[in-house]
Amino acid sequence: MEDETFLTDDFLRQLINVGEVDILVGLPTRNNAKTIGSIVHTIQSGILGGFPRERAVIINVDGGSRDGTPELVTGISIDDVRPASNLHALRTLHSISTNYAGSPESGVAFRTILAAAELLRAKACIVMSPESVNSESDWLSKLLRPIYRDGFDLVTPTYRRHKFDGLLMTNLLYPMIRALYGVRIREAFTPEFGFSNRLGSQFLGQNGWADGTGGSGVELRFTLAAITGGYRVCQSFLGKKDHVERRAADLVPTLRQTVGVLFSALESDFSVWSKVVGSQPVPTTGSDQELLLDPMRVNRKRLRQMFSTGVAELQSVFQSILSPPTLEGLQRIAALGEEEFHYSAELWVRTVYEFAASYQKSVISRDHIIQAIAPLFRGRVCTFLGENRNASANDVETNIEGLCLEFERLKPYLLQMWKSRE
């Protein structure tokens, strides 16, 4: 078991003291003192309410917090939860913490959770986000029960979200993963999910941790590994997901963690996705997706301006990545006024597929290819916002479905480019 060697002696001692468990809750943190208290209470309530007879452990993996987050996690007593909820566990609920050096995106936290799950022989595991302040105690049951009781290997969540929330997911990740891997998983990159020990151990052993690629966006890689490995995957509806405040500057790092990982995975998974035709829904508990329609002020003008500027200024970069017809199409719409501006689904899909093929070929630095998508994504977002400004939830779903079908229809185009560029 070579993966235990990167764990500290102190952490190994804590794991030995815990012994074998049935349920493992992984909690990666970094300076989350403001929210961690309520999250831990939610986890404890979830375990008391849903799994009172099971042996459970909360494992906090901290990335060098300076606000006392780890102390808060280990200091919160389960006795604080019992009187309020009138719940009682029949087993000891352990809560241990370890820390690691490096950035939160490095994947070390997830690797530590996987290694701990393997050592403790946990039957079902869950990773919870320290930022999900609106998480409910029943989220644990919803993510763990399909694994613990029904034999699934991966449970991804679905949420009730605003129709304009998670636009990278709805406009690129979900449709592309669905078209290429043939599985309709709404949230392939998510901070909270459940998994079996079987899947965790397999991923721990196979993922290229040492080469540095196992780090950023490891959650998406995990989901893709479950799909390509033929593991049983399902979805579970959790409820409302609060809008996470992100700055516009966060877009490029997010693209690296998601689109970069997806493009990179396409290379190794070619033998799998090249044979897939169409797509199938995955078993889902609760709703597939619920959309909130509250009015939201969005500056579409600025998005279109950033798209047009990007197309004009990055022409030399796009010439290396895109085919002449696609680039001409982008230049044509970049010259349109705000009212006429329309980045069609077909052009968007062709753009994304050509980026994926260029990434595989490394026509320029791969990181530069990912960065170059950002202005184009803003253009697509601008069109999506315009199309769905007054749309009902059903209309939005229909539009997303239409985009998904476009990704599926043009898949042969990607295959053709992939092979021609070999």
């Binding site: 929330d165 990055l314 290396s320 202005p375």
Partner: protein, 234 residues
Amino acid sequence: MREMIISELTQALHDLARGFAHYLPRLIVMLILAFVGWVIAYVVKVVLRSILTVIKFDKLSENAGASQLLNKAALPPATEMLSRFVFWVTWLGFIMLGVSVLGILGLQEQIARFFLFLPHLFVAMLILFFGLLAASFFSRAALLAAVNANVPSPRVLSLAVRSIIIVFILSIVFEELGLAEQTMLVAFGIAFGALMLGLAIAFGIGGRDLAQRFLEKKFVRRKKEENEDELSPL
């Protein structure tokens, strides 16, 4: 008198014949060396061209921005250019070796200098190539970062990064070649200083409003309406 003239002429003809006989083998050796050198240089050129084609050197050169420079100068592609360069250097090396066999005084030293200069030439070319590659990479990185940060005139920024790196690389290349070291040092100092001063003046005076906006954007809390398009991508 007549006999003396005939004797001198005979002596001169003998000397000429002796001298010719003395140099003829060397000349033949030189010609053989030149011919063998041509054959070897040609083989090296063909092999190098094949290797460069296999490793897609033209693509690398395109990424470095060297291909564009060659195009503008109406020169052949980078693979062909490098192959020809190696061919000529190799052949010239053999010709020089042949010439040294002739034993002509004065030429020996020049030939020795030529062979000593070759490593410098290779190093200078390597520095130039990788310098152009670095200039291309960092200017593109600056361009992408500027576009994604919505900085005005991103291409100017990218061009500035590229120019600074190229000026720096050229100064190193000239120093490596030993060409006008002092002049290049002074020229580089003046060019670099002028560029920095120009940027400082442009940013400080010409772009005062721009600088103000930039600093405000960086350090002052943004207004609500500016955040309106900041939707969560995930």
